[in-house]
């Protein structure tokens, strides 16, 4: 088991899409982009499950997963090795994700159509920070501070 550092929260607000890699039971790999990895507590993260897809299917057959999150402020990247633990359909984590999805869905006229099926909870197995070479940040990057 590993513990998520405080500074990783900035990379878990969905500013820069994350990538998740899983494997089917037969070993066929699958990599996909996801909009957000949600911070649950120092030892858990959540992925939202709206549509049944390969990621959802794979982790239920083979719980190992790898995600990659990036801080929009520093471009620091982390590899998180995860293990699918369980799916929640109620409770604090589910409600928080569900509210966000409902809010956004209503903004594009998909209220009641685009819905959260479950909040998939993963245990954090390991955290590796990949500090990249510092480069001047382009203007599009949110430098943080002020609002």
């Amino acid at each position: 088991m590993a513990t998520l550092p405080e500074e990783i929260k900035a990379a878990m607000q969905g500013v820069i899409p994350s990538h998740v890699v899983t494997c089917a039971r037969d070993g066929t790999p699958n990599a996909t982009a996801i909009s957000q990895v949600y911070y649950v507590d120092p030892e858990h993260v959540a992925l939202s499950h709206q549509f049944f897809n390969k990621t959802v299917r794979n982790v239920r057959e083979n719980p190992q997963a790898l995600v990659w999150v990036i801080s929009p402020q520093t471009f620091d990247a982390w590899d998180l090795q995860l293990e699918f633990d369980h799916a929640e359909t109620s409770g604090l984590v589910f409600d928080a994700l569900d509210m966000q999805i409902e809010a956004i869905a209503s903004m594009v006229g998909l209220k009641g159509i685009f819905k959260l099926k479950s909040a998939d909870i993963y245990r954090v197995v390991s955290v590796t920070k990949n500090v990249g070479e510092r480069i001047p940040l382009p203007d599009i990057v949110d430098p943080g501070g002020g609002r």
Binding site: Q13, V15, S35, A103, M107, V108, G109, G144, G146
Partner: protein, 431 residues
């Protein structure tokens, strides 16, 4: 590098790291204690007034000056608690005040329906993603094309929103929201601080609203039915005391023979007759949803289509007038036995009037001013005992409903030209 230095290297790194953590914690602590002081100050300010606009102003000013949120708004629930109305904002041009949203729509609407705080970043990308999902669903025929997207007040390009429900016990009072064009403008500490301010604000807003409601209610109940007064107070309709212009149907009535009666009868007798008459007329006014503008002894002026809009104002006016004539006929039967010869005269006219609060501080009346009120009064003055005189406008508006007869043109005081008038005979039997 010596062996000793190699040993102490990790230790030194650890110390440096610890120092960084301590510095960060100190910074957080300084921020928190500063903000706690600010919160105490805001609390003192908002609990020192019962003026709703002032309370809202204090909260929003504090959002900007003290907490650094440049765009903030407060939305309040309506009576049914199924919609929110933007009551005050800061950092928006135009202010957007008056905009309304349904519960469950957008970040603010969902916060209201779930009664839970929500902090959301990177809204633009989420919306863009869902638009692409929508396009795919439309292509697959799973969603009808077109837009049923909610239109929401706020910054057109808001990327971050933090919204919290304003709750008093479990009752939703409204929503306090801050937003930013930056994708990650708000953090967990902002949630905590906004939560504390929000609790204080909810109570202060609720107290101010209750106070305002009681004040308005007592003011409005003098003019309107209790139901209407409550509807106005709770925001169901615009404040009718604001001056406005509207087409109304005006009914004037008084008792023929009342002056002579008042001169000869005992004062107690006069007041008794008036109370009986006012009581009966009052019931009929309420039943037809008329607005009683004033009593003057035996005279009354009632109008229709303000502040409650009705599409059958002339019809209501003539139905009420006929009911009043019937009712007074029953009363005069009794009065005659006691020796009083009284009968009702009514005049009805339709036209535009300027309506609103008339008077001075301490003595306001709700009044309508315009030719239409003069015409109704003059027609009433011309009416024979038991007669209901209609202006040409009213007569043509209700020709399918009542039988009338022309009484010719009348030369009325204040009217340059003679005015045609019609005597209302009876309601036509239902077809």
């Amino acid at each position: 590098m010596t062996a000793e230095r190699q040993d102490t290297q990790p230790l030194r790194e650890q110390i440096a790291k610890n120092q960084q953590t301590i510095d960060r914690l100190n910074r957080d602590l300084a921020r928190v204690s500063n903000e706690v002081r600010i919160i105490q100050q805001i609390t003192r300010e908002i609990t020192s007034t019962l003026d709703l606009d002032e309370v809202l102003g204090i909260v929003l000013r504090a959002m900007e000056r003290v907490l650094g949120f440049n765009h903030s708004m407060i939305l309040l629930t309506n009576l049914a608690a199924d919609r929110l109305r933007l009551a005050a904002s800061r950092g928006y041009e135009p202010s957007g005040v008056g905009a309304d949203i349904a519960l469950g729509e957008g970040v603010i609407g969902v916060v209201a329906s779930r009664r839970k705080m929500m902090r959301m970043g990177n809204i633009g990308a989420s919306v863009a993603y869902l638009r692409s999902v929508r396009a795919r669903l439309e292509a697959a025929g799973e969603v009808a094309p077109g837009s049923n997207a909610a239109t929401l007040p706020g910054l057109p390009g808001a990327q971050s929103q933090l919204a919290l429900p304003l709750l008093v016990k479990d009752r939703l009072v409204g929503v306090l929201a801050v937003e930013s064009p930056k994708p990650t403008a708000f953090d967990e500490l902002d949630e905590i601080i906004l939560g504390i301010v929000g609790n204080q604000a909810a109570t202060a807003i609720d107290n101010a609203r209750t106070y305002q409601m009681v004040e308005n209610l007592s003011r409005l109940k003098r003019f309107f039915s209790p139901q209407l007064a409550e509807a106005i107070v709770t925001g169901g309709t615009d404040d009718p005391l604001k001056t406005h212009r509207r087409e109304v149907t005006v009914v004037f009535l008084d008792l023929r023979g009342f002056t002579a009666f008042a001169e000869t009868a005992d004062p107690e007798e006069v007041m008794g007759v008036l109370r009986e008459y006012h009581g009966e007329m009052g019931k009929l006014i309420l039943a037809h949803e008329g607005t009683l503008e004033r009593f003057t002894g035996d005279g009354m002026m009632i109008f229709f289509n303000d502040p409650v809009l009705v599409d059958d104002a002339p019809e209501r006016a003539v139905r009420m007038a006929v009911a009043m004539r019937d009712r007074v006929a029953a009363l005069t039967g009794r009065w005659r036995k006691r020796g009083y010869d009284l009968a009702l005269g009514v005049g009805i006219a339709q036209g535009y009037a300027t309506i609103g609060a008339i008077g001075f501080e301490g003595r306001w009346d709700y009044g309508a001013i315009g030719t239409v009120t003069n015409l109704a009064a003059r027609l009433c003055g011309e009416a024979q005992p038991g007669q209901i005189l209609l202006s040409a406008r009213v007569a043509s508006g209700v020709e399918d409903l009542v039988e009338t007869e022309e009484v010719g043109v009348l030369a009325l005081k204040g009217f340059a030209r003679p005015v045609p008038a019609f005597n209302l005979l009876r309601l036509k039997p239902p077809a």
